[in-house]
Symmetry: C2
Subunit: 332 residues, 2 copies
């Protein structure tokens, strides 16, 4: 059977037990030109909260009673497609379910001799690509500049900081709690960490970014964005990657100090990683090299069992995880 | 005597009769290396509200008991400076007063045979430069794109729209009241106008920008910025030139829909015209050419009498003016 997580209702605020339901369906047939993929790992991402919101966005919202959208990694178990063969490990938008029959459009093979499969959802996948393109193409840090990252112990944030160090910048991360702060400094090599749960963020930014902030890579929005805007330098770049503090609000809260953008001739810019699809290979090659050289580290937080999707998803918002959150929905 | 407008107190909210006072002082002496300028025209700008706020900004705040900062145009009546001679018409930061003795730093001569003196404070001065660099260097409009401008009947906004038409864009302006809306369409050639006092701005943007907004040139902030952000296109540019709706608030209000920047991979960027000082000449030459060809029109709203500074300044906020507001403080 194919267990699937189906969108049952659109939540107001934080999703709850009624937002999704688990259903059992037949394993789909593999038609001509298709592949049947056994999904093993499902990427759990803050963006999912946006995907179930009923509004115009960069992708259409997941429809009620449809399988929940997700980036996934799995193995081809049947192929009627000339480009894929049985046994190939592949990554694509498979959804939160155990099996998918697909034309293969948007799917790509990954080499599990280079790295374990879950890494192709984290450092060597969309997470790594988001950090790579967001920081380098939008943030454009120069050696010696100061990068401030929010959600710094998260999947994307932790990559951003490490790439920033490779690019010879001062890197300061904002994270929640002592454990995460210690992790990003001691394990990942950030220059400093700010514990937003126990510190006055604005004061701490001033302390740890004595030369101001040149690039603010924001995963969080809300008050942390407000605080960061008070310390940006002239010609600073604010990379709008996410706004997790606001995802469960009916109405996003705007950055109070946005006028600092004018005062400092700064640039606030958003991006969507999918726009860089034609450059994924370059990024993957570079990230794999850095990983093999020990210049970046990737941490995956893997939870077993498709039934645990909803509770696992909520960890994104409660912060009870470290690194990239992944759901394992089948054995390898 | 030299009548001067002195900053007397820092206002909370809208400035009032106690914010400035008028004083009479001696006409200053012209020392070696200086020029003595009889100021004739004083540029009245929204930015002045920011200059009297006690906070870190792109210029230090005007100190209490100092002459109010202003861009001015006048004539040299005494010169002990090799680069200026008596009779030269000059523009510089002279302040709201009738005479100034200055080293000439930051002052430049203007050719009144090309255009009347007040124009060097509007289309051929900082106002024109602001529109020119803000639109072309920050907004970077392409032919066929749609430009939306707030404060469209104002000094900068009306220039932005006209330059946008020269650049073969669709130009839609937002202004307050039927008269201003008619003016920008009938006299200045905007494609459409939205009367924010009598229309649902969001709906009207949708109607008049059927292909969405590629460049939003914002002079206003607040709810109009919120509305504009709901209609921006992918890769849109939001030029943060001003936020006059917020200047008298203790706390700026952030753009509620800032997340649209991410969804649309858009860029919100601030600028300060002074940063383009090295290119003023290019802009001045281009603007003068367009003016002589009848491609742009400039309207000056001139009020006589330095004693009327405070009431004149308030017109910026009440909207009781059309085009560039200028105070005449001396006879020519």
């Amino acid at each position: 059977m194919n267990k699937q997580i189906i969108l049952h209702s659109r939540p107001q605020g934080l999703p709850d037990a009624t937002t999704w339901r688990v259903v059992d369906n037949e394993i789909p047939e593999c038609s001509e030109g298709q592949i049947l993929v056994k999904l093993i790992y499902v990427s759990i991402d803050p963006a999912m909260r946006g995907w179930i919101r009923d509004q115009r966005s960069y992708l259409p919202p997941v429809a009620l009673d449809d399988v929940m959208r997700a980036i996934t990694a799995g193995v081809v178990i049947e192929s009627k497609h000339e480009k894929f063969k049985v046994g190939d490990y592949v990554v694509g938008s498979g959804g939160v379910q155990q099996y998918i029959a697909t034309s293969g459009k948007g799917w790509y093979p990954v080499q599990t001799d280079l790295a374990p499969l879950p890494l192709f959802l984290s450092a060597l996948g969309m997470t790594g690509f988001t950090a790579y393109f967001g920081l380098l193409e939008v943030g454009k840090p120069q050696p010696g500049e100061t990068i401030l990252v929010s959600g710094a112990a998260g999947a994307v944030g932790s990559m951003v900081g490490q790439i920033g160090k490779i690019k010879e910048c001062r890197v300061v991360g904002i994270a929640g709690g002592e454990k995460k702060c210690r992790y990003i400094v001691e394990d990942l090599g950030f220059d400093a960490a700010i514990d937003y749960k126990n510190e006055d963020v604005r004061k701490s930014i001033k302390e740890h970014c004595p030369d101001g902030v040149d690039v603010f890579f924001d995963n969080v929005g809300g008050e942390i964005l407000d605080a960061a805007l008070t310390r940006i330098n002239r010609k600073a770049r604010i990379v709008v990657c996410g706004g997790i503090s606001q995802y469960n609000s009916d109405e996003m809260r705007g950055p109070k100090n946005y006028y600092s953008i004018l005062m400092n001739r700064a640039r606030m810019e958003g991006f969507i990683v999918f726009d860089f699809a034609h450059q994924y290979e370059t990024a993957a090659r570079q990230l794999a090299l850095w990983l093999s050289q020990g210049k970046i580290r990737s941490k995956e937080h893997i939870v077993e069992g498709i039934e645990n999707f909803y509770q696992t998803f909520l960890r994104l918002f409660s912060g009870e995880k470290l690194g990239k959150l992944i759901l394992k929905v089948n054995q390898d």
